[in-house]
Symmetry: C2
Subunit: 250 residues, 2 copies
DNA sequence: AGAAGATATTGGTCAGACCTATATATATTA
DNA sequence: TAATATATATAGGTCTGACCAATATCTTCT
Protein backbone atom coordinates (compact mmCIF):
# COMPACT_ATOMS: atom_id res chain seq x y z
CA UNK A 1 0.00 0.00 0.00
CA UNK A 2 1.66 3.19 -1.08
CA UNK A 3 -0.56 5.85 0.37
CA UNK A 4 -4.19 5.89 1.21
CA UNK A 5 -5.09 9.24 -0.20
CA UNK A 6 -4.06 11.25 2.83
CA UNK A 7 -2.68 10.74 6.29
CA UNK A 8 -4.99 10.37 9.21
CA UNK A 9 -5.30 11.45 12.79
CA UNK A 10 -2.45 13.90 13.09
CA UNK A 11 0.14 11.14 13.21
CA UNK A 12 -0.25 8.23 10.90
CA UNK A 13 -1.66 5.05 12.41
CA UNK A 14 0.70 2.16 12.67
CA UNK A 15 -0.74 -0.68 10.72
CA UNK A 16 -2.16 -0.50 7.26
CA UNK A 17 -5.19 -2.38 8.53
CA UNK A 18 -5.94 0.46 10.95
CA UNK A 19 -5.50 3.08 8.29
CA UNK A 20 -7.80 1.22 5.95
CA UNK A 21 -10.39 0.78 8.69
CA UNK A 22 -10.27 4.45 9.59
CA UNK A 23 -10.51 5.50 5.99
CA UNK A 24 -13.57 3.39 5.31
CA UNK A 25 -15.07 4.50 8.61
CA UNK A 26 -14.57 8.13 7.65
CA UNK A 27 -16.28 7.62 4.34
CA UNK A 28 -19.21 5.99 6.05
CA UNK A 29 -19.49 8.79 8.57
CA UNK A 30 -19.21 11.45 5.91
CA UNK A 31 -21.92 9.66 3.98
CA UNK A 32 -19.61 9.12 1.04
CA UNK A 33 -20.52 5.48 1.35
CA UNK A 34 -24.25 5.01 1.69
CA UNK A 35 -25.73 2.95 4.48
CA UNK A 36 -27.06 -0.33 3.17
CA UNK A 37 -24.81 -0.32 0.15
CA UNK A 38 -22.49 -3.15 -0.69
CA UNK A 39 -18.77 -2.57 -0.93
CA UNK A 40 -16.69 -4.26 -3.62
CA UNK A 41 -15.50 -7.76 -2.93
CA UNK A 42 -12.52 -8.30 -0.66
CA UNK A 43 -10.25 -9.00 -3.58
CA UNK A 44 -11.44 -5.93 -5.46
CA UNK A 45 -11.23 -3.62 -2.44
CA UNK A 46 -7.76 -4.82 -1.53
CA UNK A 47 -6.71 -4.17 -5.07
CA UNK A 48 -8.26 -0.69 -5.16
CA UNK A 49 -6.57 0.31 -1.92
CA UNK A 50 -3.27 -1.23 -2.93
CA UNK A 51 -3.10 -3.50 0.08
CA UNK A 52 -3.01 -7.25 0.40
CA UNK A 53 -6.17 -9.14 1.11
CA UNK A 54 -4.84 -10.04 4.58
CA UNK A 55 -4.54 -6.39 5.53
CA UNK A 56 -7.96 -5.62 4.11
CA UNK A 57 -9.47 -8.48 6.07
CA UNK A 58 -7.93 -7.33 9.34
CA UNK A 59 -9.40 -3.92 8.66
CA UNK A 60 -12.79 -5.52 8.04
CA UNK A 61 -12.58 -7.29 11.40
CA UNK A 62 -12.09 -3.91 13.08
CA UNK A 63 -15.00 -2.33 11.25
CA UNK A 64 -17.16 -5.33 11.93
CA UNK A 65 -16.32 -5.38 15.63
CA UNK A 66 -17.37 -1.76 15.81
CA UNK A 67 -20.56 -2.44 13.92
CA UNK A 68 -19.88 -0.47 10.78
CA UNK A 69 -20.24 -3.39 8.44
CA UNK A 70 -21.81 -6.80 8.13
CA UNK A 71 -20.17 -9.51 6.13
CA UNK A 72 -22.05 -12.31 4.45
CA UNK A 73 -20.88 -15.26 2.41
CA UNK A 74 -21.88 -16.54 -0.98
CA UNK A 75 -23.27 -14.80 -4.06
CA UNK A 76 -25.45 -11.89 -3.02
CA UNK A 77 -23.12 -11.82 -0.04
CA UNK A 78 -20.33 -9.35 0.51
CA UNK A 79 -19.52 -6.42 2.71
CA UNK A 80 -22.56 -4.35 3.70
CA UNK A 81 -22.51 -0.96 5.33
CA UNK A 82 -24.96 -0.48 8.14
CA UNK A 83 -26.02 2.27 10.44
CA UNK A 84 -23.19 2.76 12.90
CA UNK A 85 -25.46 3.42 15.79
CA UNK A 86 -27.56 0.42 15.10
CA UNK A 87 -24.90 -2.11 15.87
CA UNK A 88 -23.21 -3.61 18.93
CA UNK A 89 -19.90 -2.29 20.14
CA UNK A 90 -18.28 -5.62 19.83
CA UNK A 91 -19.00 -9.33 19.57
CA UNK A 92 -16.76 -9.81 22.54
CA UNK A 93 -19.12 -7.85 24.77
CA UNK A 94 -21.66 -10.58 24.45
CA UNK A 95 -19.20 -13.08 25.75
CA UNK A 96 -18.85 -11.02 28.91
CA UNK A 97 -22.49 -11.43 29.70
CA UNK A 98 -22.28 -15.07 28.91
CA UNK A 99 -19.46 -15.57 31.35
CA UNK A 100 -21.58 -14.30 34.19
CA UNK A 101 -19.44 -11.26 34.75
CA UNK A 102 -22.36 -9.11 33.80
CA UNK A 103 -25.69 -9.80 35.43
CA UNK A 104 -29.22 -8.68 34.71
CA UNK A 105 -28.94 -6.38 37.70
CA UNK A 106 -25.81 -4.73 36.35
CA UNK A 107 -27.54 -4.04 33.10
CA UNK A 108 -30.69 -2.62 34.59
CA UNK A 109 -28.87 -0.53 37.14
CA UNK A 110 -27.24 1.21 34.23
CA UNK A 111 -30.37 1.38 32.13
CA UNK A 112 -32.43 2.85 34.95
CA UNK A 113 -29.72 5.38 35.45
CA UNK A 114 -29.45 6.80 32.03
CA UNK A 115 -32.25 5.68 29.75
CA UNK A 116 -34.81 7.92 31.41
CA UNK A 117 -32.44 10.74 30.54
CA UNK A 118 -32.38 9.54 26.95
CA UNK A 119 -36.15 9.53 27.06
CA UNK A 120 -36.27 13.10 28.33
CA UNK A 121 -33.87 14.38 25.73
CA UNK A 122 -35.73 12.56 23.00
CA UNK A 123 -39.03 14.03 24.13
CA UNK A 124 -37.57 17.51 24.12
CA UNK A 125 -35.91 17.18 20.73
CA UNK A 126 -38.48 15.11 18.88
CA UNK A 127 -39.77 16.68 15.68
CA UNK A 128 -43.11 15.80 14.14
CA UNK A 129 -41.19 13.57 11.77
CA UNK A 130 -39.56 11.72 14.65
CA UNK A 131 -42.90 11.09 16.29
CA UNK A 132 -44.25 9.85 12.99
CA UNK A 133 -41.32 7.51 12.65
CA UNK A 134 -42.10 6.02 16.02
CA UNK A 135 -45.75 5.66 15.19
CA UNK A 136 -44.89 4.01 11.90
CA UNK A 137 -42.84 1.51 13.81
CA UNK A 138 -45.98 0.20 15.44
CA UNK A 139 -48.42 0.86 12.63
CA UNK A 140 -48.57 -2.75 11.47
CA UNK A 141 -48.38 -4.19 14.90
CA UNK A 142 -52.02 -5.21 15.16
CA UNK A 143 -51.66 -7.43 12.12
CA UNK A 144 -48.78 -9.23 13.79
CA UNK A 145 -50.04 -9.26 17.33
CA UNK A 146 -49.46 -13.03 17.59
CA UNK A 147 -45.93 -12.89 16.27
CA UNK A 148 -43.51 -12.60 19.20
CA UNK A 149 -40.48 -12.13 16.97
CA UNK A 150 -42.09 -9.29 15.07
CA UNK A 151 -43.06 -7.57 18.30
CA UNK A 152 -39.68 -8.14 19.87
CA UNK A 153 -37.91 -6.51 16.94
CA UNK A 154 -40.22 -3.50 17.09
CA UNK A 155 -39.76 -3.14 20.81
CA UNK A 156 -36.02 -3.33 20.44
CA UNK A 157 -35.98 -0.82 17.62
CA UNK A 158 -38.10 1.54 19.69
CA UNK A 159 -35.31 2.10 22.17
CA UNK A 160 -32.73 2.48 19.45
CA UNK A 161 -34.74 5.08 17.59
CA UNK A 162 -35.37 6.92 20.82
CA UNK A 163 -31.65 7.12 21.48
CA UNK A 164 -31.17 8.41 17.97
CA UNK A 165 -33.71 11.18 18.52
CA UNK A 166 -31.87 12.24 21.65
CA UNK A 167 -29.21 13.55 19.30
CA UNK A 168 -26.25 12.28 21.26
CA UNK A 169 -24.25 9.64 19.41
CA UNK A 170 -22.75 8.33 22.63
CA UNK A 171 -26.17 7.65 24.07
CA UNK A 172 -27.13 5.84 20.90
CA UNK A 173 -24.14 3.60 21.04
CA UNK A 174 -24.42 2.87 24.73
CA UNK A 175 -28.11 2.12 24.46
CA UNK A 176 -27.51 -0.28 21.65
CA UNK A 177 -24.67 -1.92 23.54
CA UNK A 178 -26.81 -2.37 26.61
CA UNK A 179 -29.62 -3.94 24.65
CA UNK A 180 -27.25 -6.32 22.93
CA UNK A 181 -25.70 -7.37 26.21
CA UNK A 182 -29.14 -7.74 27.69
CA UNK A 183 -30.31 -9.98 24.88
CA UNK A 184 -27.34 -12.21 25.52
CA UNK A 185 -27.67 -12.21 29.29
CA UNK A 186 -31.35 -13.09 28.99
CA UNK A 187 -30.57 -15.94 26.61
CA UNK A 188 -32.77 -14.33 23.97
CA UNK A 189 -35.83 -14.66 26.09
CA UNK A 190 -39.02 -14.60 24.05
CA UNK A 191 -42.57 -14.49 25.30
CA UNK A 192 -45.69 -13.34 23.48
CA UNK A 193 -47.77 -11.72 26.25
CA UNK A 194 -44.64 -10.02 27.47
CA UNK A 195 -43.83 -8.46 24.10
CA UNK A 196 -47.49 -7.50 23.66
CA UNK A 197 -47.42 -5.61 26.91
CA UNK A 198 -44.21 -3.85 25.93
CA UNK A 199 -45.74 -2.78 22.63
CA UNK A 200 -48.70 -1.39 24.47
CA UNK A 201 -46.50 0.60 26.83
CA UNK A 202 -44.34 1.87 23.99
CA UNK A 203 -47.30 3.11 22.00
CA UNK A 204 -48.60 4.88 25.02
CA UNK A 205 -45.20 6.53 25.50
CA UNK A 206 -45.18 7.70 21.91
CA UNK A 207 -48.48 9.52 22.33
CA UNK A 208 -47.31 11.08 25.58
CA UNK A 209 -44.23 12.24 23.74
CA UNK A 210 -46.34 13.79 21.03
CA UNK A 211 -48.02 15.85 23.73
CA UNK A 212 -44.69 16.67 25.32
CA UNK A 213 -45.82 15.40 28.68
CA UNK A 214 -42.35 15.08 30.14
CA UNK A 215 -43.20 13.82 33.60
CA UNK A 216 -45.70 11.27 32.38
CA UNK A 217 -43.26 10.03 29.78
CA UNK A 218 -40.54 9.58 32.32
CA UNK A 219 -42.80 7.71 34.68
CA UNK A 220 -44.14 5.46 31.96
CA UNK A 221 -40.67 4.76 30.70
CA UNK A 222 -39.35 3.74 34.08
CA UNK A 223 -42.34 1.48 34.35
CA UNK A 224 -41.39 -0.01 31.01
CA UNK A 225 -37.85 -0.78 32.09
CA UNK A 226 -38.81 -2.14 35.48
CA UNK A 227 -41.46 -4.36 33.96
CA UNK A 228 -38.82 -5.75 31.63
CA UNK A 229 -36.38 -6.24 34.46
CA UNK A 230 -38.74 -8.10 36.72
CA UNK A 231 -39.99 -10.39 34.01
CA UNK A 232 -36.50 -11.23 32.90
CA UNK A 233 -35.16 -11.81 36.37
CA UNK A 234 -37.89 -14.28 37.11
CA UNK A 235 -37.25 -16.20 33.91
CA UNK A 236 -33.50 -16.20 34.14
CA UNK A 237 -33.54 -17.26 37.77
CA UNK A 238 -35.87 -20.11 36.91
CA UNK A 239 -33.49 -21.04 34.11
CA UNK A 240 -30.50 -21.04 36.43
CA UNK A 241 -32.22 -23.38 38.88
CA UNK A 242 -33.08 -25.85 36.16
CA UNK A 243 -29.59 -25.67 34.75
CA UNK A 244 -28.25 -28.70 36.60
CA UNK A 245 -30.45 -31.11 34.65
CA UNK A 246 -28.90 -29.96 31.39
CA UNK A 247 -25.79 -31.97 30.43
CA UNK A 248 -23.59 -29.29 28.81
CA UNK A 249 -20.83 -28.31 31.20
CA UNK A 250 -18.61 -25.86 29.27
CA UNK B 1 -8.22 -25.87 13.22
CA UNK B 2 -9.95 -29.03 14.29
CA UNK B 3 -11.63 -28.02 17.49
CA UNK B 4 -10.83 -25.45 20.06
CA UNK B 5 -11.35 -27.50 23.16
CA UNK B 6 -15.08 -26.96 23.40
CA UNK B 7 -17.81 -25.15 21.61
CA UNK B 8 -18.79 -21.67 22.68
CA UNK B 9 -21.89 -19.62 23.13
CA UNK B 10 -24.54 -22.25 22.67
CA UNK B 11 -24.17 -22.20 18.90
CA UNK B 12 -20.72 -22.20 17.46
CA UNK B 13 -19.44 -18.89 16.19
CA UNK B 14 -18.90 -18.64 12.49
CA UNK B 15 -15.33 -17.79 11.90
CA UNK B 16 -12.34 -19.43 13.48
CA UNK B 17 -11.01 -15.97 14.26
CA UNK B 18 -14.05 -15.26 16.41
CA UNK B 19 -13.78 -18.56 18.20
CA UNK B 20 -10.11 -17.98 18.89
CA UNK B 21 -10.79 -14.46 20.13
CA UNK B 22 -13.56 -15.64 22.42
CA UNK B 23 -11.42 -18.46 23.75
CA UNK B 24 -8.53 -16.19 24.60
CA UNK B 25 -10.94 -13.64 26.02
CA UNK B 26 -12.49 -16.30 28.25
CA UNK B 27 -9.11 -17.32 29.57
CA UNK B 28 -8.27 -13.74 30.35
CA UNK B 29 -11.57 -13.20 32.13
CA UNK B 30 -11.24 -16.42 34.08
CA UNK B 31 -7.76 -15.36 35.06
CA UNK B 32 -6.24 -18.40 33.40
CA UNK B 33 -4.07 -15.96 31.55
CA UNK B 34 -2.54 -13.40 33.89
CA UNK B 35 -2.84 -9.71 33.22
CA UNK B 36 0.48 -8.30 32.13
CA UNK B 37 1.78 -11.61 30.88
CA UNK B 38 3.04 -12.14 27.37
CA UNK B 39 1.40 -14.67 25.10
CA UNK B 40 3.45 -16.86 22.79
CA UNK B 41 4.47 -15.40 19.46
CA UNK B 42 1.92 -15.27 16.67
CA UNK B 43 3.50 -18.21 14.92
CA UNK B 44 3.62 -20.28 18.10
CA UNK B 45 0.05 -19.43 19.14
CA UNK B 46 -1.33 -20.20 15.72
CA UNK B 47 0.47 -23.50 15.84
CA UNK B 48 -0.82 -24.34 19.32
CA UNK B 49 -4.40 -23.57 18.39
CA UNK B 50 -4.12 -25.38 15.09
CA UNK B 51 -5.10 -22.36 13.03
CA UNK B 52 -3.25 -20.40 10.42
CA UNK B 53 -1.45 -17.24 11.30
CA UNK B 54 -3.99 -15.23 9.29
CA UNK B 55 -6.85 -16.49 11.43
CA UNK B 56 -4.87 -15.88 14.59
CA UNK B 57 -4.08 -12.34 13.51
CA UNK B 58 -7.72 -11.54 12.76
CA UNK B 59 -8.54 -12.79 16.23
CA UNK B 60 -5.84 -10.55 17.66
CA UNK B 61 -7.36 -7.55 15.90
CA UNK B 62 -10.67 -8.28 17.63
CA UNK B 63 -9.06 -8.64 21.03
CA UNK B 64 -7.01 -5.54 20.47
CA UNK B 65 -10.01 -3.49 19.38
CA UNK B 66 -11.75 -4.50 22.58
CA UNK B 67 -8.72 -3.65 24.66
CA UNK B 68 -7.79 -7.09 25.88
CA UNK B 69 -4.32 -7.09 24.44
CA UNK B 70 -1.53 -4.83 23.31
CA UNK B 71 0.79 -5.82 20.53
CA UNK B 72 4.36 -4.61 20.21
CA UNK B 73 7.02 -5.28 17.62
CA UNK B 74 10.56 -6.47 17.91
CA UNK B 75 12.35 -8.67 20.44
CA UNK B 76 10.87 -8.07 23.87
CA UNK B 77 7.75 -7.32 21.88
CA UNK B 78 4.80 -9.63 21.45
CA UNK B 79 1.24 -9.95 22.61
CA UNK B 80 0.58 -8.55 26.06
CA UNK B 81 -2.52 -9.08 28.12
CA UNK B 82 -3.89 -6.06 29.89
CA UNK B 83 -6.71 -5.20 32.21
CA UNK B 84 -9.90 -5.25 30.18
CA UNK B 85 -11.44 -2.37 31.99
CA UNK B 86 -8.39 -0.26 31.64
CA UNK B 87 -8.48 -0.04 27.89
CA UNK B 88 -10.44 1.84 25.25
CA UNK B 89 -13.31 0.15 23.51
CA UNK B 90 -11.90 0.68 20.09
CA UNK B 91 -9.46 2.73 18.07
CA UNK B 92 -12.33 3.63 15.82
CA UNK B 93 -14.11 5.49 18.61
CA UNK B 94 -11.32 7.99 18.72
CA UNK B 95 -11.79 8.67 15.08
CA UNK B 96 -15.41 9.54 15.76
CA UNK B 97 -14.45 12.25 18.20
CA UNK B 98 -11.85 13.45 15.78
CA UNK B 99 -14.39 13.82 13.02
CA UNK B 100 -16.48 16.17 15.08
CA UNK B 101 -19.39 13.81 15.35
CA UNK B 102 -18.90 13.69 19.07
CA UNK B 103 -18.54 16.99 20.84
CA UNK B 104 -17.39 17.97 24.30
CA UNK B 105 -21.02 18.66 25.14
CA UNK B 106 -22.10 15.18 24.13
CA UNK B 107 -19.48 13.67 26.36
CA UNK B 108 -20.24 15.77 29.39
CA UNK B 109 -23.98 15.38 29.04
CA UNK B 110 -23.42 11.68 29.42
CA UNK B 111 -20.84 12.01 32.17
CA UNK B 112 -23.04 14.33 34.22
CA UNK B 113 -25.82 11.88 33.83
CA UNK B 114 -24.20 8.77 35.08
CA UNK B 115 -20.87 9.41 36.75
CA UNK B 116 -22.47 10.87 39.87
CA UNK B 117 -24.29 7.56 40.10
CA UNK B 118 -20.97 5.74 39.82
CA UNK B 119 -19.68 7.98 42.58
CA UNK B 120 -22.62 7.15 44.82
CA UNK B 121 -22.30 3.43 44.29
CA UNK B 122 -18.57 3.58 44.88
CA UNK B 123 -19.05 5.49 48.10
CA UNK B 124 -21.57 2.97 49.32
CA UNK B 125 -19.48 -0.05 48.39
CA UNK B 126 -16.00 1.19 49.17
CA UNK B 127 -14.09 -0.95 51.64
CA UNK B 128 -11.23 0.36 53.77
CA UNK B 129 -8.91 -1.21 51.23
CA UNK B 130 -10.57 0.66 48.38
CA UNK B 131 -10.19 3.96 50.18
CA UNK B 132 -6.58 3.16 50.86
CA UNK B 133 -6.05 2.40 47.21
CA UNK B 134 -7.41 5.80 46.29
CA UNK B 135 -5.25 7.52 48.89
CA UNK B 136 -2.21 5.64 47.63
CA UNK B 137 -2.92 6.97 44.19
CA UNK B 138 -2.23 10.48 45.40
CA UNK B 139 0.36 9.69 48.07
CA UNK B 140 3.33 10.77 45.96
CA UNK B 141 1.54 13.63 44.35
CA UNK B 142 3.26 16.38 46.34
CA UNK B 143 6.63 15.26 45.08
CA UNK B 144 5.39 15.60 41.51
CA UNK B 145 3.26 18.67 41.89
CA UNK B 146 5.00 20.36 38.96
CA UNK B 147 4.62 17.42 36.64
CA UNK B 148 1.41 17.83 34.60
CA UNK B 149 1.71 14.39 32.99
CA UNK B 150 2.07 12.66 36.34
CA UNK B 151 -0.96 14.50 37.69
CA UNK B 152 -3.00 13.89 34.62
CA UNK B 153 -2.42 10.15 34.82
CA UNK B 154 -3.41 10.09 38.47
CA UNK B 155 -6.53 12.11 37.82
CA UNK B 156 -7.50 9.82 34.99
CA UNK B 157 -6.86 6.71 37.03
CA UNK B 158 -8.98 8.13 39.84
CA UNK B 159 -12.13 7.90 37.78
CA UNK B 160 -11.28 4.44 36.54
CA UNK B 161 -10.67 3.08 40.03
CA UNK B 162 -13.87 4.69 41.20
CA UNK B 163 -15.82 2.90 38.50
CA UNK B 164 -14.14 -0.32 39.53
CA UNK B 165 -15.21 0.15 43.13
CA UNK B 166 -18.79 0.65 41.99
CA UNK B 167 -18.77 -3.06 41.25
CA UNK B 168 -20.56 -2.85 37.93
CA UNK B 169 -18.38 -3.91 34.98
CA UNK B 170 -20.56 -2.00 32.56
CA UNK B 171 -20.00 1.24 34.41
CA UNK B 172 -16.27 0.56 34.38
CA UNK B 173 -16.20 0.05 30.68
CA UNK B 174 -18.39 3.02 29.87
CA UNK B 175 -16.41 5.29 32.13
CA UNK B 176 -13.20 4.27 30.52
CA UNK B 177 -14.68 4.69 27.08
CA UNK B 178 -15.92 8.18 27.91
CA UNK B 179 -12.56 9.24 29.23
CA UNK B 180 -10.79 7.92 26.17
CA UNK B 181 -13.17 9.71 23.86
CA UNK B 182 -12.81 12.84 25.93
CA UNK B 183 -9.04 12.75 25.73
CA UNK B 184 -9.30 12.58 21.98
CA UNK B 185 -11.96 15.25 21.66
CA UNK B 186 -9.92 17.59 23.84
CA UNK B 187 -6.82 16.95 21.74
CA UNK B 188 -4.99 15.70 24.82
CA UNK B 189 -5.26 19.01 26.54
CA UNK B 190 -2.64 19.43 29.24
CA UNK B 191 -2.33 22.26 31.74
CA UNK B 192 -0.52 22.24 35.06
CA UNK B 193 -2.72 24.47 37.26
CA UNK B 194 -5.73 22.66 35.89
CA UNK B 195 -4.43 19.22 36.83
CA UNK B 196 -3.34 20.55 40.22
CA UNK B 197 -6.83 21.74 40.94
CA UNK B 198 -8.29 18.39 39.88
CA UNK B 199 -5.90 16.55 42.21
CA UNK B 200 -7.00 18.77 45.03
CA UNK B 201 -10.66 18.09 44.37
CA UNK B 202 -10.08 14.38 44.03
CA UNK B 203 -8.24 14.12 47.32
CA UNK B 204 -11.02 16.01 48.98
CA UNK B 205 -13.54 13.59 47.52
CA UNK B 206 -11.57 10.62 48.80
CA UNK B 207 -11.73 11.91 52.37
CA UNK B 208 -15.44 12.61 52.04
CA UNK B 209 -15.87 9.07 50.81
CA UNK B 210 -13.98 7.73 53.80
CA UNK B 211 -16.53 9.47 56.00
CA UNK B 212 -19.38 8.22 53.83
CA UNK B 213 -20.72 11.71 53.32
CA UNK B 214 -22.87 10.86 50.35
CA UNK B 215 -24.39 14.25 49.64
CA UNK B 216 -21.14 16.10 49.98
CA UNK B 217 -19.40 13.60 47.77
CA UNK B 218 -21.99 13.95 45.05
CA UNK B 219 -21.85 17.72 45.15
CA UNK B 220 -18.08 17.79 45.06
CA UNK B 221 -18.01 15.30 42.24
CA UNK B 222 -20.37 17.28 40.08
CA UNK B 223 -18.21 20.29 40.74
CA UNK B 224 -15.24 18.25 39.56
CA UNK B 225 -16.86 17.32 36.29
CA UNK B 226 -18.25 20.78 35.59
CA UNK B 227 -14.90 22.36 36.29
CA UNK B 228 -13.35 20.00 33.78
CA UNK B 229 -16.04 20.72 31.23
CA UNK B 230 -15.79 24.47 31.43
CA UNK B 231 -12.03 24.50 31.24
CA UNK B 232 -11.99 22.19 28.28
CA UNK B 233 -14.70 24.01 26.39
CA UNK B 234 -12.84 27.27 26.68
CA UNK B 235 -9.63 25.73 25.42
CA UNK B 236 -11.16 23.74 22.62
CA UNK B 237 -13.20 26.69 21.40
CA UNK B 238 -10.09 28.82 21.37
CA UNK B 239 -8.37 26.07 19.42
CA UNK B 240 -11.16 25.89 16.88
CA UNK B 241 -10.98 29.62 16.23
CA UNK B 242 -7.27 29.49 15.58
CA UNK B 243 -7.64 26.49 13.35
CA UNK B 244 -7.79 28.42 10.09
CA UNK B 245 -4.16 29.48 10.32
CA UNK B 246 -3.04 25.85 10.32
CA UNK B 247 -2.30 24.53 6.83
CA UNK B 248 -3.31 20.85 7.12
CA UNK B 249 -6.58 20.31 5.30
CA UNK B 250 -7.17 16.53 5.55
C1' DA C 1 34.41 3.66 27.66
C1' DG C 2 31.65 4.89 24.00
C1' DA C 3 29.95 4.86 19.44
C1' DA C 4 28.96 2.35 15.29
C1' DG C 5 27.41 -1.61 13.25
C1' DA C 6 25.86 -6.63 12.95
C1' DT C 7 22.31 -9.93 14.44
C1' DA C 8 18.36 -12.11 16.09
C1' DT C 9 13.52 -11.70 17.43
C1' DT C 10 8.83 -10.60 16.60
C1' DG C 11 5.19 -8.41 14.35
C1' DG C 12 3.63 -6.61 9.52
C1' DT C 13 2.75 -7.45 4.65
C1' DC C 14 2.31 -9.94 0.50
C1' DA C 15 0.90 -13.42 -3.16
C1' DG C 16 -1.50 -17.21 -4.58
C1' DA C 17 -3.65 -21.38 -3.77
C1' DC C 18 -7.58 -24.03 -2.16
C1' DC C 19 -12.03 -24.78 0.89
C1' DT C 20 -16.90 -23.83 1.87
C1' DA C 21 -21.40 -21.80 2.16
C1' DT C 22 -25.13 -20.17 -0.68
C1' DA C 23 -28.11 -17.99 -4.32
C1' DT C 24 -29.64 -18.97 -8.82
C1' DA C 25 -30.31 -21.54 -12.78
C1' DT C 26 -31.07 -26.02 -14.82
C1' DA C 27 -32.49 -30.54 -15.09
C1' DT C 28 -35.08 -34.26 -13.22
C1' DT C 29 -38.93 -36.46 -11.42
C1' DA C 30 -43.65 -37.18 -9.38
C1' DT D 1 -47.27 -28.47 -14.05
C1' DA D 2 -45.08 -28.27 -9.77
C1' DA D 3 -42.00 -29.89 -6.64
C1' DT D 4 -37.38 -31.46 -6.00
C1' DA D 5 -32.72 -32.60 -7.06
C1' DT D 6 -28.38 -31.16 -9.02
C1' DA D 7 -24.97 -28.15 -11.13
C1' DT D 8 -22.53 -23.85 -11.13
C1' DA D 9 -20.80 -19.52 -10.11
C1' DT D 10 -19.92 -16.07 -6.51
C1' DA D 11 -17.77 -14.26 -2.52
C1' DG D 12 -16.09 -14.97 1.85
C1' DG D 13 -12.91 -18.25 4.86
C1' DT D 14 -8.53 -20.60 5.53
C1' DC D 15 -3.85 -22.05 4.66
C1' DT D 16 1.17 -21.70 3.38
C1' DG D 17 5.37 -19.85 3.02
C1' DA D 18 7.98 -16.16 1.74
C1' DC D 19 9.83 -11.60 2.64
C1' DC D 20 9.83 -6.73 4.93
C1' DA D 21 10.61 -3.68 9.01
C1' DA D 22 11.13 -2.24 13.68
C1' DT D 23 13.83 -2.90 17.76
C1' DA D 24 16.49 -4.87 21.63
C1' DT D 25 20.97 -6.84 22.37
C1' DC D 26 25.49 -8.17 21.43
C1' DT D 27 29.92 -7.27 18.99
C1' DT D 28 33.45 -4.72 17.14
C1' DC D 29 36.06 -0.85 16.26
C1' DT D 30 37.80 3.68 17.62
Amino acid sequence: MHMLGQSFNRFEAKRYSEQVAQMIQSKIIKDEIKIGSRLPTERQLADDLKVSRSVLREALRLLEASGYIDVKKGPKGGIFVNNVFHKPISVLWKNLADNGHITIDHIFDVRMQFEPYVMMEATKNATEKDIQRLRDLYVDVDAHFDDPVYLKNRNFEFHVILAGISGNPILSTFTKALLEILAEAAHNFLDLPFEQELSRIHREIIELMAQRKLTAVKKMFKHDILFLKNTLKKTVERDETHKQSKGGER
